[in-house]
């Protein structure tokens, strides 16, 4: 029942919205994973980010795709929790450790072991539109624990203009999606984070975005 609702929501409503009202310029689409387990890592500026990333993947993959999202934000009321868990299919994550020794990433490890495709926003929250903030290191811990799982960086641009944080009015813009090469594990977490940040910097440099100094 929920699977059907979720299928219809993404393949009718979200696909129409993202491809027609919004519109995407996708580069290097062939680098996207065809099957799980895999982790898509993206910069985060808008609630639309998740929707765009989910439409990029093949509809057949949908049952396995789970965006990793903050439990305190998305489960704050029953209606939102129902929508987030059943329709979007998020993997809720606690942002703060509640008990000593508890691993907040445990559900993520489990999902990867089950072959899921996870969507991960290492900036933690959406932040200022079109500004890249510092990455949190959780992604490095995931990569260390699952060295065989491909981590694919996806740079998104323009979604923070279409629907920024704190705005309810959607304004159409073509958005850019640049998919990077899959990253493998390197010796240590710090080196891994540097590699990931460089990957994003290089992807961002592929676009020629003009802005006014403001």
């Amino acid at each position: 029942m929920y699977r059907l609702l979720r299928f219809l929501f993404f393949n009718l409503f979200v696909r129409f919205f993202v491809l027609v009202l919004l519109g995407l310029n996708v580069r290097h689409r062939q680098r996207l994973p065809a099957r799980g387990p895999a982790i898509l890592v993206a910069n985060h500026n808008s609630h639309l980010d998740t929707m765009v990333l989910m439409t990029l993947l093949s509809p057949r993959l949908l049952p396995q795709v789970q965006p990793v999202a903050a439990m305190d934000y998305f489960l704050r009321n029953r209606l939102l929790a129902w929508f987030a868990l059943k329709i979007v299919g998020i993997l809720p994550l606690k942002r703060q450790r509640q008990e000593p020794g508890e691993d907040p990433l445990a559900p993520v490890h489990q999902a990867l072991d089950q072959g899921r495709v996870l969507i991960f926003f290492p900036e933690g929250s959406r932040g200022e539109p079109e500004q890249l903030s510092d990455f949190k290191t959780g992604i490095a811990r995931l990569a260390e624990r699952h060295p065989a799982v491909p981590v694919i960086p996806v740079y998104l641009h323009g979604l923070g203009k279409a629907l920024p944080k704190g705005e309810a009015l959607f304004v159409p813009f073509f958005c850019d999606v640049f998919v990077g090469e899959a990253l493998g594990w390197v010796a240590d977490r710090k080196g891994y984070m540097t590699q990931l940040e460089n990957a994003f910097r290089n992807l961002a440099a592929e676009g020629d975005f003009s802005t006014w100094e403001m």
């Binding site: 519109g23 310029n25 996708v26 539109p129 323009g158 203009k161 920024p164 705005e167 009015l169 304004v171 159409p172 813009f173 073509f174 958005c175 020629d208 003009s210 802005t211 006014w212 403001m214």
Partner: protein, 313 residues
């Protein structure tokens, strides 16, 4: 099921268009066969995109008048969205941009009800006065003029100009008994696009003297004149099939289309050069974005429309 306004002439012309596509694909196959080591990726992408565009355009023209109008409205939407996505915009103007989008269905509604007086002033007068008001209410004065100027220019180009194509459809059919409004649209769109292709081909074959090297190094006098002569010949030949134009007037129409199409093309080139992008988007493989394809039409549509309007209505 089919649009009842369609005349046999129009259907034959669309069939002819497919014949031309077939010919282009055939030429491509021969070229590939003769030069196996050369790369024809862009040319074949272009040709494939033409097949898609002609098919979508034919379907939009054949199904019903409402669908044709929605189709042109959608082209305006895609073009405005592409424009607003490549130019710099202020974050504080999101609500103003939203109103610019709202102008699209409103403008095409005036077309659908055939209200010429409103159609012709809605964007140049009412939106022109309203958008600055909306911006002033938000109150950001930094780069105010720049934001306002770029937005209104985009709205005029992508919505006001392009909607003239749609208004050709609702002109009284009695003005063009051989093929109706759809015939005029096909005549204009075909000649505009073919003029572009002819300019390109003549330029490749003979081109050496650049017209405006600072804006577009690909535009040569040889290409321009070649395109113009080709368009004049085609315009005179097609006029009795699709329009009420006698040959001297068809000649004038051809000059309007060839010259203003060239200007529309280089205007969008100048815009892209200013912003620093090569293509306006990636919607049409081999061509670029939608603005790259309708650049000439932004000039030819209003000018051809007023020429016809003055002569026949």
């Amino acid at each position: 099921m089919l649009n009842p306004d369609l005349t046999p002439n129009l259907l034959w012309s669309l069939a002819g268009l497919y014949g031309l596509l077939l010919l282009a694909s055939l030429v491509l196959v021969v070229l590939r066969h003769r030069n196996p080591q050369r790369d024809f990726t862009e040319l074949s992408q272009r040709t494939r995109s033409w097949w898609v565009m002609v098919t979508v355009f034919s379907a939009a023209m054949l199904l019903s008048r409402t669908i044709s109008l929605v189709f042109f409205g959608f082209i305006s939407f895609l073009a405005l969205k592409e424009y607003l996505s490549i130019i710099p915009t202020r974050r504080s103007d999101r609500r103003v941009l939203f109103w610019a989008y709202i102008a699209i269905p409103v403008q095409y509604y005036w077309v659908a009800v055939g209200w010429y007086g409103m159609f012709i002033i809605f964007i140049p007068v009412y939106m022109f006065l309203f958008l600055p008001l909306r911006m002033v209410i938000i109150g950001e004065t930094k780069s105010f003029l720049r934001a306002l100027g770029t937005l209104h220019w985009g709205l005029m180009t992508t919505v006001f100009s392009i909607s003239h194509l749609a208004f050709l459809l609702v002109l009284p059919a009695a003005g063009n008994p051989v093929a109706g409004g759809a015939g005029l649209v096909l005549y204009l769109v075909f000649l505009t696009q073919f003029n572009d292709v002819a300019q390109y081909v003549w330029g490749k074959l003979l081109g050496s003297h650049m017209v405006i090297p600072k804006v577009s190094p690909n535009k040569t006098w040889e290409g321009f004149v070649g395109g113009l002569v080709t368009t004049v010949l085609l315009a005179v030949l097609l006029a009795p099939v699709l329009t009420p134009l006698q040959w001297p007037m068809a000649l004038v129409a051809a000059l309007i289309i060839a010259v203003s199409g060239f200007i529309g093309d280089v205007t969008i080139s100048a815009l892209k050069r200013d912003i620093g992008v090569k293509d306006s988007g990636s919607l049409l493989p081999g061509h670029g974005g939608i603005l790259d394809r309708i650049d000439s039409l932004t000039y030819t549509a209003p000018l051809f429309f007023h020429f016809i309007h003055y002569l026949y209505w």
